[in-house]
């Protein structure tokens, strides 16, 4: 009986630890990524920042596809950022200003791969007014629903 109870407790504790979201500072990842873009070393370091799935859409020999590695450059100045985590993914939303002073929001989804939290999907929202800045983290796949709600 004691063995059964301790086994059950172990299973419950293990279950909780698996479901508990990992505490990661996604903004730190994002900052390193934007630095790599600014220093023009994102291409050779792409595997440190993007998932394999994401990189399948990037052809290093095709200038047009390199935009996918550089979407963060639309945010010239950052205004605010928010993040949320669950067990499977993390989402980071950045409110900012473009070089020409228009407001912009960038939403980034991260997934854990080979022990690293890497970019798996992005949504760049060229918003019309700073009143449209998000006030909480939105996952990129949910942004379209908020636009057309």
């Amino acid at each position: 009986m004691k063995l059964f109870v301790s086994l059950m407790l172990t299973m419950i504790l293990y279950g909780c630890s698996v479901l508990e979201p990992e505490q990661v500072d996604l903004y730190e990842n994002y900052t390193k990524q934007t630095q790599a873009v600014k220093n023009n070393i994102i291409l050779e370091n792409r595997k440190l920042f993007f998932t394999n799935r994401y990189l399948k859409a990037v052809n290093p020999d095709d200038e047009k596809s390199l935009l996918l590695l550089k979407l963060s450059q639309y945010v010239d100045q950052e205004v605010s950022h928010y993040q949320k985590m669950d067990a499977q993914k993390g989402c980071l939303s950045i409110n900012g200003i473009e070089l020409n002073k228009d407001p912009v929001s960038l939403h980034v989804e991260y997934k854990k791969e080979h022990g690293l939290w890497l970019v798996d999907y992005m949504f760049l929202h060229l918003i019309e007014s700073s009143e449209d800045y998000v006030k909480e983290a939105l996952c990129p796949r949910d942004v379209e629903n908020t636009i057309f709600k």
Binding site: K64, L67, L68, L71, L124, L126, E128, I147
Partner: protein, 143 residues
């Protein structure tokens, strides 16, 4: 070179212009009527302008070719609520990322902008025509 929001807006205007040159009657009927209409372009460049009033199909390849991105598809939702100003939201799908841009424009200004020699010259050249682009920018940014 990353496409700017102005370039994306001009691209939407050009797609409507191409639809208009393909079928003036149905395009004008769709865009002038109050209510929603939609513009889509798939990965093969097949474009479609549609509403309850009809459908115009055309090629969007040349227009999208000028954007500095590999585009999987484009979907633009328009809403003409008062018969004059049309609001739109475009979603550009880049397969693992999307770009959204919104705006509003005067549809009459757009469909009459492409009737002169300037537009013919721009089409004949099949490349960027600065004055024509500036005119489309003015219309699409409702200035």
């Amino acid at each position: 070179m990353s496409p700017t929001r102005t370039e994306l807006r001009i691209t939407i205007a050009k797609l409507i212009e191409v639809a208009y040159s393909e079928n003036k009657g149905v395009t004008a009927k769709i865009v002038r009527a109050k209510g929603p209409f939609k513009l889509t372009v798939d990965q093969g460049g097949n474009a479609q302008l549609s509403s309850q009033l009809g459908v115009v199909t055309f090629s969007g390849s040349d227009t999208l070719e000028k954007i500095g991105a590999n585009i999987k598809s484009v979907s633009v939702s328009f809403s003409n609520t008062d018969g004059a100003i049309t609001k739109y939201t475009a979603i550009i799908d880049l397969k693992v990322a999307k770009i959204a841009v919104s705006g509003s424009f005067n549809i009459e200004a757009l469909i009459t902008s492409c009737s002169g020699i300037l537009c013919s010259a721009a089409k004949a050249l099949k490349e960027r025509h600065h004055a024509y682009d500036m005119e489309l920018q003015r219309i699409m940014e409702n200035k």
